[in-house]
């Protein structure tokens, strides 16, 4: 048999096996769903959800609303924590990465120790730790910590002032100003501190990749340390930094699904509740996967565009 014919045969066999395999699974699923009286399809999305959601953001919601609206709130919550997380993790990660390269011994060792510790402990453990720290070890609102004027840390959440609107203690909790629930604060703190450790390593590798000659040339041209970093080192380092940074952004977004473990109502958490109530497991998992694939592809596309912008002309690939 020729090489070509064998290739065709192998592929035909693979395609047949895949089709048969999926067909078999689908048949089983149809039978099982029939036996359990679960109607397949997405019609359940328009039924009444019947459960409350702790944090609804800017969308109004009550238990009488549909599952679809509940899931939309979950998605909004996921995007909110992911967007804030990406921004803060980038800032913290860059600072840590530069601190690791700083000539100051204490600073670089401290940043190194931080990266080493945070990267080697599961995010879920860190989330539980932060959550316990906030809900068990912070005082009640009446004795809230007040490190800065208008900023209050309590076991009911973190309260901060907005322009013209300062949080005030009334009854058992604060009103006014901005507020982060314990769950949101935990998730955000966990995601940011965890991802920043990985970003720090990427930034460090990127900066180290710029040949020393570039720095020396810039310094001998009379540029200060800061200008050397900003105008010579960073633009070149970015080319190496952007691709792995993209995958860290994707990781942060995917990791935000750990919200389900601490009770922040993100998409996965609400889809999980939906699955438990309706038994529509296939649809629920499909919703989660489709949403995250869309988010992943969007971030990849955006970062690809940005990467082409920072890449050298003619080298973009």
């Amino acid at each position: 048999m020729t090489r070509r014919a064998r290739g065709l045969l192998v592929q035909a066999a693979l395609a047949a096996a895949l089709v048969l395999g999926f067909g078999y699974l689908a048949c089983n699923a149809a039978q099982n769903l029939g036996a359990r009286n679960i109607a397949s399809g997405f019609a359940y999305l328009w039924r009444e959800a019947g459960f409350e959601i702790g944090e609804t953001g800017f969308i109004s919601y009550s238990a009488a609303d549909s599952y679809l609206r509940a899931l939309a709130i979950g998605l909004a919550n996921t995007l909110r924590v992911a967007a804030l997380g990406v921004a803060l993790a980038t800032v913290l990660g860059t600072l840590l990465g530069l601190a690791r390269l700083a000539p100051n011994l204490l600073l670089s060792k401290l940043a190194g120790a931080y990266v080493e510790v945070v990267r080697n402990v599961p995010l879920l453990v860190q989330l539980f730790f932060w959550y316990v720290l906030i809900t068990e070890n912070l005082p009640a609102p009446a004795d809230a910590l007040n490190p800065l004027p208008g900023l209050f840390l309590s076991n009911r959440g973190i309260f901060f002032p907005l322009p013209g609107n300062v949080p005030v203690l009334s009854g058992f909790n604060f009103t006014g100003g901005g507020a982060l629930s314990p769950e949101f604060a935990t998730l955000l703190a966990g995601l940011v501190t965890y991802t920043a450790a990985f970003i720090a390593e990427i930034v460090r590798a990127g900066v180290l990749s710029v040949p020393r000659g570039q720095v020396e040339a810039a310094r001998s041209l009379g540029l200060g340390r800061r200008d050397t970093l900003r105008r010579v080192v960073l633009p070149q380092a970015l080319r190496l930094i952007v691709p792995p940074l993209t995958s860290q952004y994707l990781n942060l977004t995917k990791n935000s699904s750990l919200a389900v473990a601490i009770g922040y109502p993100d998409l996965v958490s609400i889809a999980n509740t939906t699955m438990n109530q309706t038994g529509q497991a296939i649809e629920g998992v499909a919703v989660i996967m489709a949403t995250f694939l869309t988010i992943s592809l969007s971030i990849s596309a955006f970062m690809g565009w940005y990467n082409r912008r920072v890449a050298l002309r003619g080298l973009a690939a």
């Binding site: 290739g7 699923a29 000539p103 402990v121 316990v132 473990a261 998992v285 989660i288 996967m289 694939l293």
Partner: protein, 348 residues
């Protein structure tokens, strides 16, 4: 003295950073040491000793619960079995980390080791009482999920990586779809798929228990990530290796098995270890679908009303255990990266 000046006080802002760090250390370190060590309660018959005013960290909580944390709900008088299994598993990993043991018989040793662990854990033969795997838990479950996950995912990932680089379009497309789909979604959705969706896809009457379903999900998940690492190793191979093998008349399988893979896999060992670390940490997610791994037994211990309120101690302890394993792995991977990878390639 000069050295100190150069490394700590080279200019005014470096000096400022040094002073700020020293001030923070002065403010934070003594209270922490006092809480964690000096005032800590190491043993206590009664949790009230931990709640006494001025008492520091309650490590007595960990001591009180250590059997449950390590072995979960495994029958109490049989817990020597998971203890031996844990030791055996750790031994297998340490043994595999030495270069002298990277021989053809290493996979065989793993098969034997895992079989022995299975006998120990399940029992039912040699006079060992049978213990169903719903009762497995604690550290051994975490280690088993990670080890068996890698052991099964690794061969699968090699096939996926080869498939992704294949010249056959259908095979390549199938592998790319699989790898990108899994890498595009969070692990928790794959775990949900295994825990709530998979039972719907099995023929009526067939059930797979929760532990095996979670293990399956972890294998499928890890394989996609490992496949990308293996692909990186394959891509780093110089073209002439393949061309030489072709010219010598190797078949495709012979070429891969004898020429390309041995070199490519050695090249990808450091990134593989890094992926292992990530995977080891990821096994903690099985808590969400209700398995009793190390993190889960710690979390459940906290629900004991008599010993509630020691969450900080509990999770610090969890961090310490995970850190010990992950740090050992990352130190190993760094050592390989520093000098061994190029030499290994030259050697083969």
């Amino acid at each position: 003295m000069n050295w100190l000046r150069a490394r700590l006080f080279s200019n005014w802002w470096s000096a400022l950073a040094t002073l700020a760090i020293l001030w923070l250390a002065w403010k934070l370190l003594p209270p922490f040491v006092e809480w964690a060590l000096v005032d800590a309660v190491w043993r206590a018959a009664d949790p009230r000793e931990c709640r006494a005013p001025g008492a520091g960290a309650c490590w007595a909580f960990i001591w009180e619960k250590h059997r449950f944390i390590l072995f979960g709900t495994y029958p109490y008088e049989q817990q020597w079995r998971p203890a031996i299994a844990t030791g055996l598993l750790v031994f297998l990993w340490v043994f595999s980390s030495f270069k002298h043991s990277w021989k053809w018989w290493l996979p065989a040793l793993w098969v034997m080791g895992l079989a022995l662990i299975a006998v120990l854990m399940w029992g039912g033969v040699f006079g060992l009482a049978y213990v169903e795997n719903e009762r497995w838990g604690g550290l051994i479950l975490t280690l088993l999920l990670a080890s068996a996950g890698i052991a099964f995912a690794f061969p699968l990932s090699i096939l996926l990586a080869l498939g992704r680089r294949s010249e056959l379009p259908v095979l390549r497309a199938a592998c790319i779809c699989y790898i990108e789909l899994i890498r595009g979604v969070p692990l928790i959705s794959v775990l949900f798929m295994a825990s709530v969706m998979l039972p719907l896809f099995l023929p009526a009457g067939v059930t797979i228990d929760k532990l095996l379903r979670a293990q399956l999900a972890l294998v499928l998940f890890a394989a996609a990530y490992l496949a990308e690492v293996v692909r990186g190793g394959l891509q780093a191979m110089p073209r002439h290796q393949e061309e030489t093998a072709d010219a010598l008349g190797f078949s495709w399988w012979g070429k891969m098995r004898l020429v390309i893979l041995p070199q490519a896999l050695r090249l990808s060992i450091p990134p593989l270890v890094n992926t292992f670390i990530g995977f080891f940490k990821d096994t903690s997610l099985v808590l969400i679908i209700g398995l009793f791994d190390l993190l889960s037994t710690i979390k459940v211990s906290l629900q004991d009303p008599v010993w509630s309120g020691f969450g900080a101690e509990a999770y610090l302890f969890a961090s310490l255990v995970y850190f010990a394993f992950c740090y050992a792995m990352s130190a190993y991977s760094r050592r390989l990266e520093r000098g061994d990878a190029p030499r290994l390639l030259a050697q083969s």
